[in-house]
Amino acid sequence: MRHCIRLAVGPVTFRIGSDWARPIAELASLYANYPASADPANATVRLEAARPWRRFIRPAVTIGGDFTIPGALPLPMSMGLLAAEMAMNLQMALGWRRHLLLHASAVERGGRALIMSGVSGSGKSTLAALLGESNAWRLMGDEFTLLEPASGAAYAFPRPVSLKNEAIAEMAARVPANRFGPLLKATPKGDIRHLIPSAEALEVMHEPAMPALILFPRFGGDVAVTRLAPSELFVRLTEASTNYAMLGEAGFTALTRLVTTVPAFAMSYPDSATGMALVQQCWAEAMA
């Protein structure tokens, strides 16, 4: 590829190639403070022109790499950063075998991890970002939480937090402007802006944390907190894992251990302040 960059996010080292300089420059800026990795790349991403002339005429980015989605529509060059993020997520979701992958955000406090899983729009990214900006918590990631099968420990995957729509202004009021990527307007997922994790979170991104609490936040509606039985948690987490079936026995052992040892709650909340208060309350109870 004409333009390349290597990025280390937690235990994953991506090799990203592009037909254009712009997405690589944007990635270099967004990941400037990430620790360098001497490890060989273990995931490859390609940002390519769908046809040779599309490098120059109405450039559109098609995502490729070790794994691809046949028929995926290309994104305009202005959304190159989103294309890169989607491609990196795709390589993780389909290719990563070292850990049980949960589609979940995570934060750490005192060596223990709070894992938050939910569909897009549930608020798991925003809550993790808000907690990550408080002094007590370390942001581990907003998209994937990596569970080591042998130990059950959670490992961070702290890519820049993908803030969407209203969450952008909410975080912009709290975090200096130099920790944000460019505003990507009107993407297929709405407005998106990336928040770079704090320097402290990046410095210790290789340090694991033992899971202590699992939440399924749901933004909107009245306040409700419901304890989840292990069997319901098991079903929800198999659905939230992109590689459970691929890991076979190791995945089964890791997930059954998690659901039988860690308390879990479904949590509805009408606004971020209430959500944060509920999280702190659940955490305090889990630690009691």
């Binding site: 292990p230 079903v235 089964f252 059954t256 659901v259």
Partner: protein, 94 residues
Amino acid sequence: MPAETQLRAVSGNDLLRVELDALTAIYDRRSCQTHLLGEPLPDILNALGDREWTLAAFADHLSLHFDLSAADDALAVLGERLGELAALGLVSVR
């Protein structure tokens, strides 16, 4: 399921079992599939053990431990449950 149907459960070495709550998670090493079973299916698997049975003999065996006689259609109900286990590949039926 006829009373003379031959039954055998998957060898216990091929299964990993974890009791979650009312449901039991079972991982089948041969198929790499995970099953979530509710009562009485895990108990039936346990009772089948590692030997072959006819449906009638197995029903007799269970009646020593459980009150099956209360239901006239106990054999039919047991046959249905065994059919469910067979559909999951956890019991072979001949």
